[in-house]
Amino acid sequence: MTALDPAPRADAASSTAPAAPAASAAETVESAEKRRQRISTGVLIGIVGLLLLLALGSTRGQARFALSDAFDEVQLPTVPLPGLPTVVVCAVLCLAAAVAFLSGRVRGRWAVVAATVAGVAVLLGFLTWAAAGRDLPFPVSNQLAGTLSLATPLVFGALCGVLCERAGVVNVSIEGQFLAAAFAAAVVGSITQSVPAAILAAMVAGLAMAALLALFSINYLVNQVVLGVVLNLLAVGVTGFLFDQLVQPASSTYNNAPVLSTIAIPGLSSIPFFGRVLFDQNVLAYLAIVAVVVVWVLLYRTTWGLRIRSVGEHPQAADTVGISVRGIRWSAVLAGGVLAGLGGSFFTLASTGQFTKEFTVGNGFIALAALIMGRWRPVLATIMCLFFGFVTQMASQLQTLSTPMPSQLLLVLPYIATIIAVAGLVGRVRAPAADGIPYEK
C-alpha cells in the first residue's frame, strides 16, 4: 500500500509537469485561425503594394496637399510631395510590411506597428498617385471635415446596433430606421419650421421602427435578420408611398425643413487647421460624440448595461437571477431606435432639409458593417465609422480632382473597402453569444 501510494502522486506530478510548458508554448504557437488572418492580411497588403508599383506608370509631376482653404483666416502652406519617389517609398513600405506579416516574425506590438505603417503608406501612396500632376491641390482640411460629417449618422447607427446586438437582438433594419426618421424630420420640420421639433419627430420615428423590431423579434420570435430586411422594405415602401402621394405634390409645405447651422465653439474653433475641422460642426455631430461616451458608460458602468450584456451573452443565466430578458431587450432596442432616429435626422437636416426617396443609400448597412468590424464595442465601432467616412469623403474629393479612376468606380470605393476590411483584416469575429437567438422561457 505504501509502495503504491506515491505512485499516483508521481503520476499526477508528471502529468502536470508537461502541462506547464504546453501552456507557455500556447503563447508562441499561433492558432490556425490567427495564422490564416495574419496571412490574409499580409497578402492583402502585398497586393496593394504591387498595385502601387503598377500605378508608378501613370504618376506624373508632384502632388500638392492644401492644409487650409481660401476661407481660412490663418493660411497654412500647401505641401508639395514629389509624385514618383513618394509612391515608390509607399509601395516599398507596403511590401516590407507584407513580408513581415507573411514571415510570421512580427508579433504583438510590432504587428500593430507594421499594420499602421502599411495603412499610412497605402493611404499616402494612393492619394499621391491620384493627386500627382493635377491642377488643384488635394484639400486636406476638407477631407477631415467631410470625414466627420459623413461619419456622424454612421456613429449613431452603429451605436444603435451596439445596444441592440449586445442585448441579443440583431438589427439589420438600421437603414429602415434612418429612412423613417429622415422622412419624419423632413415632414415635421417643414410643418413646424423648427429644428428641435424635427429632431424630436425623427427620434419618435426611429423609436417606432425599433418598437416594430422589438415586437416581432422579442415577442413573436421572428428571425431577426429576415425581420430586419422586411422592416427595411416596409420603410422604403411606406416613406416612398407617402412621398409620392403626399409630399411630392406639395413639396413647399411638406418637404422644406430648416437646415442645421454649424455651432463654432468659442476659442477652440479659431485654432488653425484643427479648429475648423473639429470645433465648427452642427449640433448632431456634437451629439454623436456625446452619444459615444454615453453609450460606453451605460454599457460598461451601469447596472442596466451589465444586464444588457448579460441577456446578450447568456439569457438563461440572466433569467435565473431574476432579470427580465424581454424587458431588458425591449429597453435596449428602443434606446437604439432613438439613436438611429438622431442619425436619420442628420440626412435631412444637415444637408438640404429635403427628403428624396431612398436617400440614405445604404448608410444603415455601412453602420452595420462598422459595428461588426468594431466587434460590437462602441468606441471601436466609432473608429470604423470614421474610417468609412474617410473613404467616402476621399472618393468624392478625388472626383473633383479628375483622377485617372472613373467617378462611378470611386463611388463604390467605400463598399469595396468594407468587403476588404471584413474579409482580409477582420476575419472571424465573435458576436455576443445570444445575438439573433430569440429567448423562450
Partner: protein, 405 residues
C-alpha cells in the same frame, strides 16, 4: 414531400410535423389569408391618410360622416379594384402577372436555396444586376444564329450571377467574412459597375450621351405568345424551380447543403466540406438570381423589344426576392406560388398607378406587410379572433441565429 422540404428539426417535433402534414394545413391557409387581409387594411389606412382630398372630408366627419366614408371607399376601392383588374382581370393581365412573376421566382429560388444552407443571401440584387450585364452584353454585341444566340446569352447571365454569388461563398468560406455584409456591399458594387459600364464605348449606345445600352438582338429575345406577355422566361422560371427541387432533394450536393444548413458541425463531422458546400450553394444561388437578371435583360416588354440596359434595369427584384423566399417558406413550390402572388401584386400595381393614380410604392409596403404578418402567425391570431390559435414557430424556413456565425 413536405416533411423533407421543411427545415430539419429535432426528432420528436419532426414526427409531429410528419403526422400533421398528412392533413391539409388549414390553419396555415387561414392565417396566411388573414395576414393578407390585415396587410391590405393597413394599406387602405395609408391611402386614406395620405390623400389630401379624402383627409379634408374627415375634418367634418361628425357632421356628415357619409362624405368621408364614401370618399375613403372610393379611394381604396378604386385602387384595389385597379390592382385586381390589372393582375387577374383577363388574359392580358394574367400574362403580365407571369411576366412579372418570372424574375421574382428565379431570384426567390436563389435566396431560398441559400437559406436552406443556413446562408442569408441578401445579394440577389447584385447577382441579378451582374447577370443582366452579362446577358445583355452577349445579346447586343455578339451576333449569333437564332437559337444559339439565346442559349449563349442565358448561359452568360447564369455565369455572371454565379461569379457574383460564388465570390460571396468564397469570401465566407475562405476568410470568414459574414455573408450579410458582403452581399449587401456587393449589391452596391454591382450597381456602381453597371453605372460605370454604361459610360464606356462597349456598353453605351452609339450616338447617345445618357447611360443606355443598345437594344438586344431579336435573336436573343425571349419568344412570347401572341396577345400577351407570356414568354419563355416564365417557362425558364418553372424549370429553375424543378431543378432546385431536384438539386435539393435528389442530389448528393443538395443533401450536403441541407445537412450544412441544419448543423454545420455535424455535417463537418460526417465528412462533408462545409467550405465547399458554402461556395457551391452561393454560386448556384447567384446563378439563379442571375437568371432573374437575364429575364430583365432579355424578356420582351409590352412593345415586344427587350428593355435596354439602364441603371434601373432589374428594379428591386433582389429585395423582393427575399420576401418571395420567405413567403414561400424556402421550398421550390412555395417560392413559385409566392412569386406568382407578388408578380400579380406588381402587375396590378402598375395598373393601379396608371388607372387609379395610386403610386406603385404602395405595393412595396403591401409586400413587406404581408411577409411581416405571415412571419408572425401569433400576432395574426391575436388580431383576428376567429383564427384558431396555433403554436408559433420561431422562424419556419430560415436558419436560427443571426450574425452570430
Amino acid at each position: 414531400m413536405s416533411t423533407t422540404t421543411g427545415p430539419p428539426r429535432p426528432a420528436p417535433e419532426a414526427g409531429r410535423r410528419a403526422r400533421r402534414s398528412t392533413r391539409f394545413p388549414w390553419t396555415d391557409v387561414v392565417t396566411t389569408v388573414a395576414a393578407f387581409v390585415l396587410a391590405f387594411l393597413v394599406g387602405a389606412v395609408l391611402m386614406i391618410v395620405s390623400d389630401t382630398d379624402v383627409r379634408s372630408k374627415f375634418t367634418y366627419f361628425f357632421d356628415r360622416p357619409s362624405d368621408a366614408l364614401i370618399a375613403s371607399a372610393d379611394k381604396v376601392g378604386g385602387a384595389y379594384g385597379a390592382l385586381l383588374a390589372g393582375s387577374v382581370g383577363g388574359y392580358g393581365p394574367l400574362t403580365e402577372t407571369t411576366a412579372q412573376a418570372a424574375p421574382l421566382i428565379c431570384a426567390g429560388l436563389g435566396v431560398a436555396l441559400a437559406f436552406r444552407a443556413g446562408l442569408f443571401n441578401i445579394g440577389a440584387q447584385g447577382q441579378a444586376i451582374v447577370g443582366s450585364i452579362f446577358a445583355a452584353y452577349v445579346g447586343f454585341s455578339w451576333h449569333l444564329p437564332p437559337v444559339v444566340h439565346l442559349l449563349v446569352a442565358v448561359f452568360a447571365g447564369l455565369v455572371g450571377g454565379a461569379i457574383w454569388g460564388g465570390l460571396v461563398g468564397w469570401l465566407k468560406a475562405g476568410a470568414g467574412a459574414h455573408e450579410v455584409i458582403v452581399t449587401i456591399m456587393l449589391n452596391y458594387v454591382a450597381a456602381g459597375l453597371l453605372d460605370y459600364l454604361l459610360t464606356t464605348t462597349v456598353f453605351q449606345r452609339p450616338g447617345r450621351t445618357d447611360p443606355i445600352s443598345p437594344i438586344v438582338d431579336w435573336s436573343a429575345t425571349f419568344p412570347r405568345l401572341a396577345g400577351g406577355q407570356l414568354h419563355l422566361g416564365f417557362l425558364l422560371a418553372i424549370l429553375a424551380a424543378v431543378f432546385v427541387w431536384w438539386f435539393l432533394e435528389r442530389s448528393t450536393t443538395g443533401f450536403a447543403i441541407r445537412a450544412v444548413g441544419a448543423n454545420p458541425h455535424a455535417a463537418a463531422t460526417a465528412g462533408m466540406s462545409v467550405a465547399r458546400t458554402t461556395v457551391i450553394t452561393m454560386a448556384v444561388a447567384g446563378a439563379l438570381a442571375g437568371l432573374a437578371g437575364v429575364q430583365a435583360a432579355l424578356g420582351p416588354s409590352a412593345s415586344g423589344l427587350p428593355i435596354p440596359l439602364t441603371a434601373g434595369i432589374v428594379g428591386s427584384i433582389g429585395f423582393d426576392a427575399i420576401t418571395v423566399a420567405l413567403l414561400g417558406r424556402s421550398t421550390p413550390l412555395g417560392t413559385v406560388l409566392a412569386g406568382l402572388l407578388f408578380g400579380a401584386l406588381h402587375a396590378g400595381g402598375l395598373a393601379m398607378q396608371s388607372v387609379a393614380q395610386t403610386p406603385l410604392t404602395l405595393t412595396t409596403a403591401l409586400q413587406a406587410l404581408i411577409v411581416l404578418f405571415v412571419a408572425a402567425p401569433a400576432l395574426v391570431t391575436r388580431l383576428v379572433p376567429f383564427v384558431r390559435t396555433r403554436k408559433a414557430h420561431a422562424s419556419g424556413p430560415v436558419p436560427e441565429g443571426g450574425l452570430a456565425s
